[in-house]
Subunit: 192 residues, 2 copies
Amino acid sequence: MSNKKSSREKILEAATELFHLKGYHATGLSQIIQESGAPKGSLYYHFPNGKEQLAVEAINLSATRIAAEIKQNLAVYEDPVKAFQYHIESISSIFHSIEPISNLKNVPMGLLAMETAFVNENLRQACEETFELWGNLYFEKLRSSGYSEERAFLISKTLSALIEGAITLCITKKSSEHLIHINKMIPLLLTK
Amino acid sequence: MSNKKSSREKILEAATELFHLKGYHATGLSQIIQESGAPKGSLYYHFPNGKEQLAVEAINLSATRIAAEIKQNLAVYEDPVKAFQYHIESISSIFHSIEPISNLKNVPMGLLAMETAFVNENLRQACEETFELWGNLYFEKLRSSGYSEERAFLISKTLSALIEGAITLCITKKSSEHLIHINKMIPLLLTK
DNA sequence: GTCTATAGGCAGATAGAC
DNA sequence: GTCTATCTGCCTATAGAC
């Protein structure tokens, strides 16, 4: 109930932002502490397993947050085409703000995923489960909109790849362009 | 004409593989030298600007290589649907081999792109141009298959995102699954 | 072209006082 | 819960000999 976030929360929050933005290897623990404003000595108290634990929790945190956002976005319209277009627009709006960096907190899971895939099995698994979770939400929306299991499966997999790839390209270009383009293909893609 | 690669080539080769596989920040110059088998003292002779120069050249190298492969793959079939499906299959075949890691040399440009987007403008630009180059090849194939400029533009952008995203998911899962799924959607996606 | 030696910094992690 | 001090190791980069 306290208004101020606990040190643990502040550290995890800063870590989540930095990991998703700069990546795992480019982010130092010292920077996390600094940006969090938390006491310097508290990191290893709250996260005894250090950097890896911090990253796992960061992945899980934004996995849950984004999942909630996906659910919310897809529920705005009953029509699946409109719903997914709304969702993609909502992602692309991040790039419109003047300072997109601070808003990109959770979005680019792909960075952490590729960085760790061959290097750290725990982190790789956390990322894999995250993508699975998000894809399942797409699947459910399609199922409840009357798509057959086969179609829903295929389309949800395609949407997962398409959105993740478009985010990659948007970050590279520092522009929402690509997400806006793919949005025009959603009606065709969602053919029953 | 010499059979042995020059030291410069060997270093660049090793750097290209490691950067694309583990990423920019997780790859040390010492490891590059070690894997290349090149003389230890030669790195800064051939690449006076150190790690950044090495990375720019690595990006350009695999940009060119993949571009050649894309051209080749898309030329196998005249029918664009078959051509793109062949191309995607050819990418996915990388994941089938017993030791996929060594074959992933150039594929995951997205890793380098996201790692450097907010951190190093030179590298970011090199990645942006690479994506542009590959996308243009998709566009040309569609144009020469009779697609309108608008359609070709939209579809090529979609294909770029879709393929890049599917690669991300395949690497995360260490499986070719996702690329195979999206391949089934190509006919629908290429609707004129 | 290649080598050694080394600077100088920062990384992640631990021990022990408070 | 938090702090300071410190260890160990790796990193990029440079200087100067061969």
